[in-house]
């Protein structure tokens, strides 16, 4: 456009033969308007460039702050001394031979938001060290400061050092950190979906220049993960969740690291896969690679690690030998979820049953190409209950939710909600039937306030058109006020009352999940579908979520269908559990029955994992 305009100017001037656009002349030169425009652009470009140079220079010279204050600091301090006494075993002396030493690390985002305030930790050579903590505690920030990706997120190290094998890693770009021998497996796997398995590995091998070395590394990875070796030419996006996690770890190993950083490797994986990943981590460690593992699933992390740190609001609140931490009461409640198993299963409520219809899924089948995503799945969700759907990754749980909400249309079978058949309806019609859902990955507008996000849920119930609302007609305003009042009620119910005016994106992850839940509730649903509501949450947060869901369900008398991997969460919350595997229903019954079902144990729960559940089972058996 600009170019067209410029060209037009030049041509017009010459054709007319007049110099209407000449600005002034001196010593025989004519300066035309376009020249001034050009000079101005040059000035802008130069300015932007100069600023870049200047800020690059100054960034490295920011003075470290002398003191930082963070909310909750006193509480942490108090707690630290309390636990340190019982947890820190004086006989355990970590080898002074350190692979990684982080000292007094302060990190800020956008120059203002303090994410880490004086974190120090050690990874002894050849050890496995775990970092535990809730969402927003600073775990990811810590890994970013080690791997050099902090600038990509607008963060910077304000003070402190990160030393690996005698090299300071601060300010290094990620590619150089990798060449120093530190590699990070990013959270959420982040494999290259468009690339094949082989190409994914190849990308990571480019860090080493030695060809024979690359070949050896690849053979080693395929040795470690035979499932990857079977499908070298398959595209990454077509792998199952477990295979993707293997590929993500294998890809990192291709860089021949001496320190492996793992960010939430068990996130979103079925319990039996979590066990496999833990085994792999130990195998890798036995080869002499030090491992720093960040986990929500504290049980898994404490099983593989020798030493663990707990991070709270940007500070290390306690540290200790893994087994001591595992046995300490505070950790058990907050990160291992000791309390949830005792929680009562919700009972169907008689009065709710009269308002809400039951959800009947009858012989539903769906194929994608040659893959049977669902085959002949039938079960019934009783009115006013919490019904869980569990199963390994790729079992068809999300597909089922998408069939229920009309995103996918079943090839065969039907879904009945009360009297009406959902199978033939469009998604928005199903929404109008009183079916609402939340998403596995948070889907909301993060710039808008919590209240506005919740008001979005009222859209279906709003009568005033945009003209009436735009001209602020009295009836539109009245309606708006009524909706706002209801939004406030719902916010109170899910525990968001005090955050209504905050922007949704600024809230911690756990609260964002609540915003999604609140938005779904604002549509006044009769049936609520929750897709992995506690994925990525620590045990204390998921216990909180469970109690909120239970409260919502009891207060509103609605039916809830929940898809989850977190077994303690499901077992404590649901009154009935359906188990899917490869699109087939393999069990349907009370949590008590399902846990004992041999098919479920072999397909999903795994043999040796989930100590919690086995212990709980034993307790229950004794009680009976």
């Amino acid at each position: 456009m600009v170019i067209a305009f410029r060209a037009q100017l030049d041509v017009d001037m010459e054709i007319d033969g007049r110099h209407i656009l000449d600005f002034w002349r001196f010593s025989g030169h004519t300066i035309k308007l376009p020249d001034i425009f050009t000079a101005w652009c040059l000035f802008l470009v130069g300015q932007e460039w100069l600023r870049g140079v200047v800020s690059n220079v100054t960034q490295s010279r920011v003075a470290p702050p002398t003191e930082m204050t963070l909310p909750g600091r006193e509480a942490n301090g108090a707690r630290r001394t309390m636990i340190s006494k019982e947890a820190t075993d004086p006989t355990f002396v970590p080898s002074r031979d350190l692979a990684l030493a982080v000292r007094n690390l302060h990190v800020a985002y956008g120059g203002a938001v303090k994410a880490l305030a004086g974190v120090s930790l050690d990874v002894p050579r050849g050890s496995v060290v775990a970092i535990l903590g809730n969402n927003g505690a600073g775990k990811s920030t810590l890994l970013r400061s080690i791997s050099g990706t902090l600038p990509m997120h607008g963060g910077s190290i304000v003070a402190g050092t990160v030393i690996f094998d005698g090299n300071g890693l601060e300010g290094m770009d990620p590619a150089r950190v990798v060449r120093t021998g530190v590699v990070q497996v990013p959270e959420g796997r982040r494999i290259f979906g468009e690339l094949t398995v082989d190409e994914n590995l190849r990308v990571a091998s480019l860090a080493s220049t030695d060809r024979s070395h690359r070949m050896a590394a690849r053979a080693h990875v395929y040795d470690l993960f035979p499932r990857l070796a079977e499908r070298p030419n398959q595209r990454g996006s077509l792998l199952s969740g477990g295979e993707q996690q293997m590929l993500a770890i294998g890809r990192a190993l291709m860089t021949s690291p001496r320190l492996l950083l793992l960010d939430e490797p068990s996130l979103g994986l079925a319990p039996n896969l979590v066990g496999q990943i833990a085994e792999v981590v130990l195998d890798i460690n036995r080869e002499g690679i030090s491992v720093l593992i960040v986990e929500q699933d504290a049980a898994m992390a404490l099983e593989v690690a020798e030493w663990a740190y707990v991070l709270e609001v940007g500070q290390v609140s306690l540290e200790g030998r893994s087994q001591d931490l595992a046995n300490s009461a505070g950790i058990h409640d907050s990160y291992l979820g000791g309390r949830q198993l005792a929680g009562p299963a919700s009972k169907p409520r008689a009065e709710a049953a009269s308002e809400v219809g039951d959800l009947r899924i009858e012989d539903v089948s769906l194929r994608f190409g040659g893959i049977r995503a669902l085959s002949d799945v039938s079960f019934v969700v009783d009115p006013g209950t919490v019904h869980a759907v569990i199963g390994p990754n790729g079992a068809g749980k999300s597909t089922l939710i998408n069939v229920l909400t009309g995103v996918y249309t079943a090839d065969r079978g039907r879904v009945l909600f009360g009297e009406s058949e959902l199978t033939s309806m469009r998604p928005h019609q199903i929404g109008n039937m009183g079916v609402s859902r939340t998403f596995q990955n948070i889907a909301m507008s993060s710039d808008a306030s919590v209240a506005d996000n919740l008001m979005l849920g009222r859209h279906r119930l709003t009568r005033a058109g945009f003209v009436a609302a735009g001209f602020r007609m009295p009836w539109a305003l009245r309606e708006q006020r009524a909706h706002r009042a209801r939004v406030e009620e719902i916010a109170e119910l899910v525990g968001l009352g005090e955050f209504l005016d905050e922007s949704a994106g600024s809230l911690p992850y756990g609260y964002q999940k609540l915003v999604e839940l609140g938005r779904a509730l604002c549509t006044e649903p009769q049936l609520l579908l929750l897709d992995e509501p506690v994925a990525g949450m620590s045990a204390s947060e998921s216990a909180e979520m469970a109690s909120i869901i239970r409260r919502v369900q009891e207060e509103l008398g609605i039916s809830v269908v929940v898809v989850e991997h977190n077994m303690p969460f499901v077992m404590g919350l649901a009154s009935r559990v359906t188990v899917l595997d490869f699109g087939r229903l393999i069990a349907d019954g009370s949590p008590y029955e399902v846990r004992r079902d041999p098919d479920v144990i072999s397909a999903y729960l795994g043999g040796s994992e989930d100590r919690e559940i086995r212990e709980a089972l034993e307790r229950e058996d004794r009680a009976q």
């Binding site: 600009v2 170019i3 067209a4 410029r6 060209a7 030049d10 041509v11 010459e14 376009p34 020249d35 425009f37 050009t38 652009c41 040059l42 802008l44 470009v45 932007e48 460039w49 600023r51 870049g52 140079v53 200047v54 800020s55 690059n56 791997s147 050099g148 990706t149 990509m152 770009d173 990620p174 590619a175 990798v178 060449r179 590699v183 990070q184 990013p186 982040r190 494999i191 290259f192 979906g193 468009e194 690339l195 190409e199 994914n200 190849r202 990308v203 990571a204 480019l206 860090a207 890809r251 990192a252 291709m254 860089t255 999300s398 998408n402 995103v407 998403f439 596995q440 990955n441 889907a443």
Partner: protein
């Protein structure tokens, strides 16, 4: 019928040239997410250098010099300007390239003045007779060279280390950096390759019957922008397909302009943009572009 056929052949051949320009555009976008508005000016720069040097160096050597200059300028843009921007987000960088385009374009037009330079290519104004109609030799040469270059690029993109690294960086820059891919190098290489492709395309675009290197050449080359957008900004195959589509549309709109006179004279100049408009209405991410997919 033979008129139709000759239009078809010439449309396809100019389409490959459009595709070549669009390809450079797409490569930069894939590697850095920057929409490079200087691309047409770079193509003109390469062609201008060829036009000014072919008399003393001969066409082929001049072409090499042109490519070298365009590659150098592109690399300098990436290293000096974009690499040092204070806020290196793709939006800001794209807007900086608008400024650079204005600068480069203005300077080129000032240099060219009101002359029209020939490119000294060995094909000249020869034509080949096909049935009842004539097709310029340059068009055949353009198609052949474009197919070879595109094929070569596709192979490199598919199999070389650089290609794999670039596809990884394009899909998830952070994950690629974590696996040791040097994003700066990927970006510089992409700008360099785009400069080379732009020069080759620019030369073939402006040889007979393209009208030579003149004041208005950049405007004509701009028709390749819609080609990239029609194909989907992040699809290399799409760039070629978009180029072919634009080439055919322009050629047919020009060839049958008497029949479609009700749309206004010279509608073929606007044709790429009209086509882009229609495609974007139906497929907002272009024909082959990746949708912003979210798993639900």
């Amino acid at each position: 019928m033979s008129y139709f056929l000759s239009l078809l052949v010439s449309g396809i051949s100019i389409g490959f040239v459009y595709g070549l320009i669009a390809l450079g555009f797409v490569i930069i976008f894939k590697a850095t997410k920057v929409v490079n508005f200087t691309h047409a000016a770079i193509a003109l720069l390469g062609a201008y250098v060829v036009a000014r040097t072919h008399e003393s160096l001969g066409f082929w050597l001049a072409l090499l010099v042109g490519i070298a200059v365009a590659v150098l300028v592109n690399v300098l843009i990436d290293v000096l300007v974009l690499g040092n921007a204070r806020r290196p987000d793709p939006g800001t960088l794209s807007i900086i390239t608008i400024g650079l385009d204005i600068l480069l374009g203005a300077e080129l037009r000032r240099q060219i003045g009101f002359r029209t330079y020939g490119l000294g290519d060995p094909w000249g104004t020869e034509v080949i007779r096909v049935g009842d109609s004539f097709i310029p030799q340059t068009r055949i040469a353009a198609a052949v060279v474009a197919v070879i270059v595109i094929g070569l690029f596709a192979l490199i993109f598919r199999f070389s280390n650089w290609g794999v690294a670039m596809r990884a960086a394009s899909e998830d820059p952070e994950a690629a950096a974590l696996m040791g891919v040097r994003l700066r190098r990927v970006s510089i290489a992409a700008w360099g390759v785009a400069g080379a492709l732009a020069t080759i395309a620019g030369v073939f675009f402006l040889t007979f019957p393209g009208g030579g290197v003149s004041n208005l050449a950049e405007l004509a080359i701009l028709g390749a922008f819609p080609a990239a957008i029609i194909g989907g900004l992040d699809s290399t195959g799409g760039a070629v397909a978009g180029g072919l589509l634009v080439g055919l549309t322009v050629t047919f709109a020009a060839g049958y302009q008497n029949e479609i006179a009700f749309l206004g004279r010279g509608v073929h100049e606007a044709a790429p943009f009209i086509l882009m408009f229609i495609v974007l209405l139906v497929r907002p991410t272009g024909l082959f572009g990746t949708k912003e997919l979210h798993r639900v």
